[in-house]
């Protein structure tokens, strides 16, 4: 698929397949097109050319809420809680509409269980304004989970974690997958990508420059060049 904004080619001919049950990492330098790709999949900025298929559905031209209800959940890179609702209701909205809970009460029950799952049970009735950035990202994850998504698009939900929080985050993501979700995660954190992803896709300047297992990607000279710059690329890039 391709996407341009005015004269800027944000994505050019990116071809990507995400098999069910896998955790796929999407990495690349700033401005490589990672968030653009997520926005294209979720219908926020539909692609100009190409197709997106999910579970046999053609997503082209569908509005974001339809795509959510088809089973694709997302988090936002900058956490965006709904400010007039409690943490619980932030998640309950997604359970009610995305997850099609039977009633407001059923959605609240489900939201309680999901907040518990992501470790926010104690925050349920608080407004989201007081949460730390780490908790806000968990709230984003909880909202995405509440839509009962079969494909989760996680946009840098682990940035800025301490080492122990990271270990916890890795476990959480693996548990999410074990519940039956497929995951596409955008991340800058190499350690995290290497330890949880089955496969890694690398974008640079809107094009896919590499794809493979974490090990293959770690050895790929194109990837090293993209991250460290051409003048220090190739054999010089050992650091």
């Amino acid at each position: 698929m391709s996407k341009h904004f005015g004269g800027l080619q944000a994505l050019s001919g990116v071809d990507l397949e995400i098999p069910a049950g896998e955790i796929v990492g999407l990495i690349g330098p700033n401005g490589a097109g990672k968030s653009t790709l997520l926005n294209a999949i979720t219908g926020v900025h539909p692609p100009d050319a190409g197709t997106i298929r999910f579970d046999g559905h053609d997503l082209a031209g569908l509005p974001p809420d339809r795509i959510t209800r088809l089973g694709i959940g997302r988090t936002f890179q900058v956490p965006q809680p709904l400010g007039s609702l409690s943490c619980l209701d932030n998640v309950a909205v997604a359970a009610l509409f995305g997850g099609r809970a039977a009633s407001v009460e059923a959605a609240a029950d489900e939201a309680h269980a999901i907040l518990d799952f992501v470790g926010l049970a104690g925050r349920a009735l608080l407004p989201p304004q007081g949460l730390t950035i780490v908790d806000l990202r968990r709230l984003e994850l909880a909202r995405a989970l509440a839509t009962r998504a079969r494909l989760l698009l996680l946009d840098e939900i682990n940035t800025g974690l301490t080492a122990s929080e990271m270990t916890e985050a890795i476990r959480l993501i693996q548990r999410v997958r074990d519940r039956g979700a497929t995951i596409l995660m955008v991340e800058h954190l190499v350690r995290l990508i290497m330890s949880v992803c089955d496969r890694v896709v690398v974008l640079d300047f809107g094009s896919k420059i590499a794809e493979g297992t974490p090990d293959e990607i770690g050895r790929n000279p194109d990837v090293i060049r993209a991250y460290l710059g051409p003048q220090r690329g190739g054999a010089d890039a050992r650091g």
Partner: protein, 331 residues
């Protein structure tokens, strides 16, 4: 029904208190002028509730007078031209502004904030022209229409005032229960999510456009009901002047003063601002009264940015909590 009543327990208590207080007041005070003024408050509280409900879905209309006016016209035209009894026309007429709400909402479905306000404002001017020109044969152009009254014929003037008072009160409280149950329902959750952030609402699976249109349609009906009631009971006449800017601004002021986003705020706001307004005009008069009213609104907004109602609710809540504590302390 059981779940509905349980979810709305607090609102049903508030509704009963409003009814009791207003009926007790009616028993104590029979001054015609006061009853008329309060009937006006009831009608405009219905109108303000409509604006507040639509604003609850993130759509701050600056052209709400279109719905108020179309409700009046709709009901009066249905009553006079089709010979439908006023009591039935009262509920049929507002279907016209409900439809207009759907249309204007559709036109503005991608707009937010000031842009939404501007276009709704413009739409009101267009509605006025349509009513006067295209539908002039129905609406009697600039001269307007006389409205048949709702009160039974042959009733003396004091009885008519009581009739209008009780009818306005009943419809205001009914509107309150309807609006509160919408706010507490699945639909209300969608409204508030859209209000806070449309992109996040969509990512949560909310059909943003559908719920925005629903808010405009229901809001159009409720505002139209206020307009129809006003025409049949108080003004007894409708003319294109109803589409002026002033009637679009009032519900905004009432709702903000009373407390945006609460079901009770618009009612309290209408009562406080309107009663103060009447007092200022009677006792002070002229330009001085306008200065007082401006000052009062400025003070409310700066000192109580969330409106009067949250303060009242907190005060009532703390009295209740103290009484409970005292009850528990007793052996």
């Amino acid at each position: 029904m059981g779940a509905w009543a349980r979810r709305l327990r607090r609102e049903l208590v508030v509704a009963a208190l409003m009814l009791a207080a207003a009926l007790a007041f009616l028993a104590a005070v029979r001054e015609l002028y006061v009853l008329q003024m309060l009937s006006f408050v009831f009608i405009f509280a219905i109108y303000a509730q409509s604006w507040n409900l639509v604003a609850h879905s993130g759509q701050h209309s600056l052209g709400h007078a279109a719905f108020l006016g179309l409700g009046s016209y709709g009901s009066i035209v249905v009553a006079t031209r089709l010979g439908v009894p006023s009591a039935v026309a009262l509920f049929l007429g507002p279907l016209v502004p409900a439809l207009a709400g759907l249309g204007i909402g559709g036109l503005c479905r991608r707009l937010r904030e000031a842009y939404f306000g501007m276009v709704t404002f413009g739409c009101t001017a267009i509605v006025q022209v349509l009513v006067v020109e295209q539908f002039g044969w129905l609406t009697n152009r600039w001269d307007g229409l006389d409205a048949p009254r709702l009160a039974p014929e042959g009733l003396e003037i004091e009885r008519v005032a009581v009739f209008n008072y009780v009818l306005g009160l009943a419809l205001m409280v009914a509107t309150y229960v309807v609006v509160a149950s919408i706010m507490r329902s699945r639909t209300g959750m969608a409204f508030i999510a859209i209000h806070d952030n449309e992109a996040v609402a969509a990512a949560a699976g909310v059909s943003v456009v559908r719920y925005r249109l629903l808010a405009m349609t229901v809001g159009g009906y409720i505002a139209g009901l206020a307009g129809a009631l006003n025409g049949h009971t108080l003004t007894r006449h409708i003319s294109p002047g109803v589409f002026g800017i002033e009637d679009s601004i009032w519900p905004v002021l009432y709702s903000i003063a009373g407390g945006l986003g609460t079901a009770e705020g618009p009612i309290l706001g209408t009562l406080v601002v309107r009663v103060f307004w009447e007092w200022a005009i009677r006792r002070v008069g002229g330009f001085d009264s306008l200065i007082l009213i401006g000052l009062m609104l400025a003070l409310v907004v700066t000192m109580l940015p969330r409106g009067i109602y949250p303060v009242v609710a907190r005060a009532v809540g703390s009295i209740g909590a103290r009484r409970r504590r005292r009850a528990e302390a007793r052996p």
